[in-house]
Symmetry: C2
Subunit: 129 residues, 2 copies
């Protein structure tokens, strides 16, 4: 059992973000003690870690909310959840591909800059010019 302060620290997510995630259903509701204070279980932490990971890869909040919703409906939604994940995987693969291409382009561009800088330095060293 952890407090929101500890969970915030552990996952490097602000307390506000943790409350926000819960409010919008991005993580299942966290239990409170008698005085209304959140008590995060291991299970809650796993959700948070999972969501943080997926968000970090750019999966939209909206889609993850849907996933959590399906999960809470039980085994009837196994297929739907699988389909959702497959769709997101496809998107992710495409984004990675796009980024890899851009990376190649950046590599090339940087190389060209290095050449240009060397060429410029040579020019400067040439006497009377």
């Amino acid at each position: 059992m952890m407090t929101i302060a500890e969970v915030s620290e552990k996952f490097d997510l602000s307390q506000d973000t943790l409350r926000y995630y819960e409010r919008i259903g991005l993580i299942p509701r966290v239990n409170r003690n008698k005085s209304g204070v959140r008590n995060y279980t291991e299970e809650d932490c796993k959700w948070i870690e999972f969501i943080k990971c997926m968000r970090g890869a750019g999966l939209p909040v909206e889609v993850l909310i849907e996933y959590v919703g399906l999960f809470q409906q039980g085994d009837e939604t196994l297929e739907a959840r699988k389909e959702l994940l497959i769709e997101q995987r496809n998107q992710l693969i495409m984004r990675i591909e796009e980024m890899k291409k851009t990376l190649e382009r950046l590599n090339y561009k940087i190389e060209r800059y290095e050449q240009a800088i060397v060429a410029k330095e040579k020019t400067l060293k040439r006497p009377e010019n």
Copy 2:
């Protein structure tokens, strides 16, 4: 020479986005004809294509504005531009790495779902249960 309508079509960017990019300095200023209408050159198109590519990989608008600004200052900024690109390349590499890990995780999760679904179907077919 192309009109904004043609450029918009060609790069699949709205006319509003093209004007917006120019307004904020994300692409250099485009020349107008006597009546103030934009006339995009080949050069302009190359900038647009470059910016679209970099934005697609998630480079922030702010950083790209800086790059364009440096470019317009001429050869004095070769080194600064190179450094800027290297920094962005590093960020990009990290993001790709993160996404790849998430992709692996999604693959694993989907596999587990497939197993779970098969298991569930077997259960359903067992008589009287």
